[in-house]
Amino acid sequence: MTDVSASAKPSRFSILANPTRFLELSGRVQPWLYGAALIAVAVGVFLGLTAPADYQQGATVTIMFIHVPFAWLSMMIWTVMSLSALGTLVWRHPLADVSVKAAAPIGAVFTVVCLITGSIWGRPMWGTWWVWDARLTSVFVLFLMYLGLIALTRALEEPGKSAKSAAILVLVGFVNIPIIKFSVDWWNTLHQPASVLRVDGPAMPAAYLTPLLISALGFTLLFFALHLTAMRTEILRRRVAALSRLAARRAEAAH
């Protein structure tokens, strides 16, 4: 490993590879990210709750403004972790594993609220809380993968030891993301097909599309804000672990 600070002009990538620099920069960005996230979520949810009732779904359509962003996020967070996993395996970026470990619990929470809100929406609209159709099952599998990843990243006492195996699990699990996205086209599902990301444009009036996109933006910003905080915490946790070992060694040497 070469000393980053020794080279004359480090690239942006390597500046971010230095955890101390990362802590400085993220500390400055963090409050703005939380602020923007809260404003967007508030505006999106307000517009969503005041949107007119759907002619078929009635008022339950308001559940869409949280359910759909949660579903998008559950897939996006795994994608973010997959990019980080590449960072671990290909570039050995020191923060890549921190990113995977920090994102996993946040992804699990967004996936579980996606499942819960979907279930609550399904009861009045489909007449059932749950069916084992392709979309619902593949998202449930995603949730289980998040739980497995959380267990793996926290199984070993020394933080960071599980980096490689966690990265491999994340990349293997990425197979599920296109399966979730296209499950509604490939199989006969109770879940409706895509209505925003379609080849022929969104099939949704602006009164629904605008609050949906603002709400999605808000929750995405919220994820990145929480992820940043969790990453900072993980860096500190690794420092605490390293210093604790140092303290133990010193105490041993003194005796």
Binding site: V98, P105, V109, V113, T117, R123, L226, T229, L243
Partner: protein
């Protein structure tokens, strides 16, 4: 607005809000706990090499 849908909508929003607030609280408490632990170690005079000696440390060492 149909009254029988209200419980569904309220519970969807309520459960989501609770779950995300709990997540945020956990992230915040975890951050505070690690900051506190680091401060206590530093108060005992245990510092990272990079902070005790030279102006900057190795990226690989700091990440551990």
């Amino acid at each position: 607005m149909q009254a029988d849908y209200f419980a569904f909508i309220a519970s969807a929003y309520g459960i989501s809000a609770l779950a995300i607030l709990a997540l945020a609280l956990w992230v915040f408490l975890d951050a505070r706990a690690q900051r506190r632990a680091l401060r206590m170690l530093e108060a005992q005079g245990i510092r990272r090499r990079s902070e005790a000696g030279g102006p900057s440390g190795h990226a690989a060492e700091a990440g551990r």
